[in-house]
């Protein structure tokens, strides 16, 4: 299996770190692979630049940080500008097309989807936005299965949120599949 190196970035409060934890946990606990999740953020509780790295591999993982991601998630323009230049040639950048205009030229696929708007339309509230992004990311990369992500979501969230999380996860996955090139 190839080694997956994810870099997820955005603004504090968007759920970037939660998304990274869920992805890594789905791989490590529910698929029995090795995964390491680490994070980097400023002193602010909300609004500061946030970054979380996830490595998924069948072999051991030593250095826990991602220097060159295969897969980049950018949820703000600032994040896209900062991290797009790091992406590996042939990699993939997933972003929300209403929030981010990636104007950096890189040798990587750039996939923009109106995920936030879709979540608002379907659920009427933005809380599961990050779960929707996660669904799209899983569908595009096939790094972990949606079933494993559902299990991770159920173990991390209270029951009241399970249904919305599941809807958001599949919404993201469906949108990604529909526009797979």
């Amino acid at each position: 299996m190839e080694k997956y190196r994810f870099l997820m970035s955005g603004s504090g409060g968007q759920g970037v770190i939660t998304m990274a934890i869920l992805l890594a946990e789905a791989a490590a606990i529910h698929e029995g692979r090795n995964a390491v999740q680490s994070q980097s953020y400023g002193p602010e509780a909300r609004g500061g630049a946030t970054r979380s790295d996830v490595i998924v591999s069948d072999g051991p993982i030593f250095f826990p940080k991602v220097l060159q991601p295969n897969y980049l998630v950018a949820l703000t323009n600032e994040a896209a500008g900062k991290y797009l230049p790091l992406i590996r040639p042939g990699g993939l950048c997933l972003y929300d097309s209403d929030m981010v205009t990636p104007d950096v030229r890189v040798d990587a696929r750039k996939k923009g989807l109106p995920l936030y708007a879709a979540v608002m339309k379907k659920l009427g509230k933005p809380v599961a936005f990050n779960i929707c992004v996660l669904g799209a990311l899983a569908a595009l990369t096939e790094a972990v299965s949606l079933a494993s992500l559902e299990k991770a979501l159920e173990s991390r969230f209270a029951k009241a949120h399970h249904e919305n999380n599941r809807i958001a996860l599949h919404l993201g996955a469906d949108m990604a599949r529909d526009c797979k090139d």
Partner: protein, 399 residues
């Protein structure tokens, strides 16, 4: 999300339904789980990044198990509360980061002098002062050893993986209880915040040392500082059946202050020797490919992860390179370092400070002039590339 929901979430977080208890947790949570495994009954602290999750999880777990969690007004009082709780019979700990660790030093010195078993976690961030609150560093190595004033000795342990954080925390409590000493767990931001798989061993798989309590009955004189033949000091739970004195002053076998030179000298030697003479017993380490290594890296904590990453890569290319990962930093395992680096052409110490462990390695090494430092202290984790660059220069292969 309401408070109760949040708690339910935290309880369920990362738990596996299978027979084996496997979780996906942060280093800080692994430290909590290790402490609970070892039987911690008391925590007092003041939250500070990047150690806060330790307080957060213990605030939830301790009351549920009949233990006590107190958020104190500051780090000084927290360390004092830990001393008191431990004397009264609980396995006690606190957790902090650099600025708070500075504040705790006076009471850590008190715990050394009064021989109070306790565990102090310092999840290091970049300093001095408030420094970089959310960024990694390993700059507290010397403070952990010499933060308290006066001649004393102390045990400082560290780890580089979530699994090792768990087991070294159990060890920390065991050593604290065995030798009646504060033990410092010196983690760093990367290890504290990073998440990895943790397999929690069934209770009984790892040794847990229980406190040695006095057999002196109520109504019979108890000498709190009269060592047994093997040097150990049985404790009578303070506030229990014996009245006795505990002080930060030099004291006699009753715990009362003394200025008699011979008693003072004896106590200094006792406090230092009980740890320094057992340096070989306290030395914990891991080693990778050292048998035939021409280049030996010495590292610890999260830096050791960068080091092993580089070592694995270079081994695949046929380079004879190995890693000595230290888990005991103090008492410094000089003998071990000397032996493991004796045949090395070059020794590289990888750490995130200006050479605090490097100077110890230089003292221990057979060829101190072949010891080189690879470091970073800009809040970023030292990378395998950083190490590779320095090695190439030293080996005369250019930048």
């Amino acid at each position: 999300m309401g408070r109760t929901q949040k708690q339910a979430t935290a309880r369920a977080a990362g738990r596996n339904a299978g027979a084996q208890d496997i979780r996906f947790v942060q280093g800080n949570e692994a430290c909590v789980l290790g402490a609970l495994y070892a039987g911690v009954g008391f925590f007092a602290g003041y939250p500070i990044t990047p150690s806060t999750e330790i307080a957060e999880h213990l605030a939830e777990q301790l009351p549920r198990r009949g233990g006590v969690f107190i958020q104190m007004e500051d780090e000084i009082s927290a360390m004092c509360a830990v001393c008191g709780a431990s004397l009264a019979g609980a396995k006690a700990m606190t957790a902090t980061s650099g600025p708070g660790f500075s504040l705790k030093q006076e009471a850590i010195g008190y715990a050394c002098m009064a021989e109070i078993p306790c565990v102090v976690v310092d999840v290091q961030r970049a300093g001095p002062s408030t420094g970089l609150p959310t960024k990694v560093s390993q700059g507290d190595v010397n403070q952990a050893r010499w933060g308290a004033h006066g001649d004393h000795s102390i045990v400082v342990l560290t780890a580089s993986s979530i699994q090792d954080v768990f087991s070294i925390t159990v060890e920390a409590f065991n050593i604290a209880e065995t030798y009646r000493t504060p033990v410092i767990l010196l983690f760093d931001e990367v290890v504290g915040h990073m998440r990895e798989k943790l397999v929690i061993p069934p209770q009984g798989d790892l040794e847990v040392v229980e406190r040695l309590r006095t057999e002196v009955r109520a109504g019979v004189n108890y000498h709190p500082y009269l060592p047994r033949e093997d040097g150990r000091l049985p404790i009578s739970d303070f506030g229990g059946v014996h009245r006795y004195n505990v002080t930060g002053l030099f004291h006699d076998i009753f715990g009362f202050p003394t200025e008699k030179p011979e008693e003072v000298t004896k106590l200094v030697y006792h406090l230092v020797d009980k740890i320094e003479n057992r340096a070989h017993l306290l030395a914990r380490h891991k080693e990778y490919y050292l048998e035939d290594a021409e280049h030996v890296i010495v590292s610890y904590g999260s830096s050791a992860r960068s080091a092993i990453h580089l070592v694995e890569g270079r081994r695949r290319k046929g380079d004879r390179i190995g890693l000595l990962e230290l888990q005991t930093l103090w008492p410094f395992p000089s003998q071990l370092v000397r032996e493991k680096t004796a045949r090395a052409r070059n020794v590289f110490v990888v750490e995130m400070n200006m050479g605090q462990v490097k100077s110890q390695v230089k003292q221990a090494a057979v060829h101190p002039d072949r010891v080189f430092l690879v470091n970073r202290m800009d809040g970023m984790m030292v990378t395998p590339t950083d190490i590779g660059k320095v090695m190439r220069i030293i080996e005369g292969r250019g930048f």
